[in-house]
């Protein structure tokens, strides 16, 4: 996972995104942001700390163990179900936490991108251009 080629790809994507956000065209800038957020998402996954080979979806389930089932029962876990997951098996899984973080980041970037796109649409409506150099009514 923590492969140098992958790091290089991420870095190049960062470079491309950076180049794009420095363009004059608002759509290009937003595309640049899109590339940057792709890059950062892959970056987060790529720093996942263990070199597992398996998808972090576990075998086994509650149903396999005999349970009494009780809401908010702390002891449930340790006493009855811990044999379900053997100690040490986790080594083979990839880091699930980074994936969860990226999920959150992706969703957030979707929301932000949607907002900024519609903002660009409104800017085009107000300014009659997509050239961000024209966005200079506020200065000084």
């Amino acid at each position: 996972m923590n492969n140098t080629f992958l790091s290089l790809t991420i870095a190049i994507l960062f470079g491309i995104g950076t180049f794009l956000i420095l363009r004059r065209d608002i759509v290009k800038v937003i595309i640049g942001l899109g590339i940057l957020s792709h890059a950062v998402n892959v970056l987060i996954v790529s720093v996942g700390i263990f070199d597992g080979t398996r998808v972090p979806i576990l075998a086994g389930s509650y149903n396999e163990a005999e349970t009494t089932g009780s809401v908010f029962n702390d002891n449930l876990a340790e006493d009855i179900l811990s044999p379900v997951v053997q100690a040490g098996t986790h080594i083979d899984y990839v880091d699930p936490l980074v994936q969860a973080l990226v999920l959150t980041a992706i969703v957030i970037s979707l929301a932000t991108t949607a907002f900024i796109l519609i903002l660009a649409y409104r800017i085009h409506e107000e300014y009659g251009t997509t050239d961000i150099r024209e966005l200079r009514r506020l200065w000084g």
Binding site: V40, V47, I49, L97, V98, F115, I116, E126, L135
Partner: protein, 513 residues
């Protein structure tokens, strides 16, 4: 038996979120919506006071969301965060009341309350969280909600909607870049220490720093965090978005932005640098001080050049943030306490000034000070209120701002930062100059009726707009005449900040199920 006070931190975040959705359902009945939201904020202020009181008497309060210990997300209420929450809610409460008469009806009923509540949730969430990634999430909440609020319509629209779009675009795009930097920093940090819990990270960074195994890129990460929080707080050279956004926002939102929102960067700086990177802090102090000084200079000089009242106030915010960062950069308990005092005073005074400027703009129908004049006779309340705020920002006694400047300069000189303090004092003069010039331009001289824009007719500010301003003015005066509680609180807070061991202990010595 549910003990409400055990859940205070989460209530302060979850209630705004839940209530923002209730506001959507109440779209059809605006009166109920308004009253309910004001009531909710009143309760939230009470809860925030309770939280601060509890933390003050009972020590740092740790709340495990989901009871997962450090594996889940932890909310930590220490003096800093609970103080910031109280400040946030106080100013939000007043801004909300002000908004009811200030924001256009449709905007107000349809989305304003929801966005406002989510903004507050974002702020409180950021202040209270003990988890670095969660901090990112709540940063995004408050970023987007503030963008949404900036473009809310005002009743007396003197701000072109194109200006709002432009400002929001600049704000959003720079903030998005900041978010990307933050994600890089957080991910790299996680890859290095294997945890997201700030106290846990702090322990691990300290331990490996002591053992000499701290990799160099942790410094790079720390520098990235300077950019992240500097961007939020608008310190030079990351300040560019602020002078565009703060003036174009509706005044109550300007008050929130300048009063509270940019403080989130200050908060983050204090939290991350004095908790996580405290062992390597001295290397970053010169950088922070240099940036702070540059911020002071840029803010002060640019403010002098403005003719737009709100833009001037925005630049002033930049300059004032510089002072706050100066205190942080100097890095001792004294200077941090001074920074905190400064922060509170700036928050109160600047919110008050923005709210007042809203009233002034309502009255004058323009934001250009050079086209106003002689309003002392027609708007005496605004004149005196603005004067109080201006005096406080300029550090003129007996306003709170004086105490803030005094303690900051005193602490700085005590730490033997003579040159930075000298620069700070020099540029404090600029503040006085532009503030008083603004006041004179608006309230002295002669009325310039012919310049007035068509859609605004002069009228006294509505009651709901006057009340928050007066309350804030009273707070400013009280903070000037009797600042002891604030000073003591700031002192205690600063001591907590520079010695994070109790914080770490409180977070990590919990039973994890």
């Amino acid at each position: 038996m549910i003990i409400l006070t055990d859940h205070l931190p989460i209530l302060l975040i979850a209630i705004p979120i839940l209530s923002s959705m209730v506001m959507v359902f109440l779209k059809g009945s605006p009166v109920l919506q308004k009253n309910l939201n004001v009531f909710i904020y009143f309760c939230l202020v009470i809860l925030a006071i309770m939280l601060l009181q509890k933390v003050w008497t009972g020590g740092i309060m740790v709340y495990e969301v989901g009871e997962w210990g450090k594996y889940g997300i932890i909310l930590v209420a220490d003096l800093l965060s609970s103080g910031m929450v109280l400040l946030t809610l106080g100013i939000s409460f007043l801004s909300l009341i002000y908004s009811l008469d200030y924001i256009e009806e449709r905007s107000l009923n349809s989305t304003y309350h929801s966005l406002f509540n989510l903004l507050v949730a974002g702020l409180n969430g950021s202040f209270l969280t003990g988890d670095i990634f969660n901090l990112f999430v709540f940063f995004e909440v408050l970023l987007l909600s503030s963008c949404g609020l900036v473009i809310a319509n005002e009743k007396v629209g003197v701000t072109r909607s194109s200006d709002k779009m432009e400002a929001t675009f600049k704000y959003l795009i720079l903030s998005m870049l900041g978010s990307i930097v933050m994600l890089i920093a957080v991910a790299s940090l996680y890859a290095t220490v294997g945890t997201l819990n700030m106290a846990d990270i702090a322990v691990k960074v300290s331990a490996s720093s002591a053992a000499g195994t701290l990799p160099w890129h942790v410094f790079a990460i720390a520098l990235l965090f300077i950019v992240v929080f500097g961007n939020k707080a608008a310190i030079f050279p990351l300040h560019y978005w602020l002078p565009d956004v703060h003036p174009t926002a509706p005044s109550p939102i300007s008050a929130m932005l300048s009063g509270v929102l940019i403080k989130i960067g200050v908060y983050g700086m204090l939290r991350v640098f004095f908790l996580i990177f405290r062992d390597v802090l001295p290397m970053f102090q010169p950088i922070i001080i240099l940036m702070a000084l540059a911020t002071i200079v840029v803010g002060a000089v640019s403010a002098v050049g403005q003719t737009d009242i709100k833009r001037m106030l925005a630049y002033s915010s930049i300059g004032q943030i510089g002072y706050i960062f100066l205190g942080i950069g100097m890095g001792s308990a004294l200077t941090i306490a001074a920074s905190l005092v400064y922060l509170v005073n700036h928050a109160v005074a600047k919110s008050m000034l923005f709210l007042t400027s809203g009233g002034i703009i309502h009255h004058a129908g323009t934001r250009d000070m050079y086209r106003m004049g002689g309003m002392i006779k027609s708007a005496p309340l605004m004149a005196s209120m603005f004067l109080v705020g201006a005096m406080s920002i300029s550090g003129i006694p007996p306003m709170g701002g004086f105490i803030a400047k005094f303690v900051l300069f005193k602490a700085g000189i005590q730490e033997e930062y003579y040159i930075p303090v000298a620069i700070a004092i020099l540029f404090a003069l600029f503040t006085l100059f532009y503030m008083m010039r603004a006041w004179m331009k608006m309230f002295w001289g002669t009325v310039n009726d012919s310049e007035r824009q068509g859609n605004a007719t002069p009228h006294a500010p509505a009651l709901l707009m006057a009340i928050p301003i007066i309350i804030l003015a009273l707070i400013i005066v009280v903070l000037g005449l009797y600042a002891e509680p604030l000073l003591a609180l700031a002192q205690a807070t600063a001591e907590q900040i520079v010695d994070p061991q109790p914080y770490i202990d409180a977070v990590l010595t919990r039973n994890v199920r």
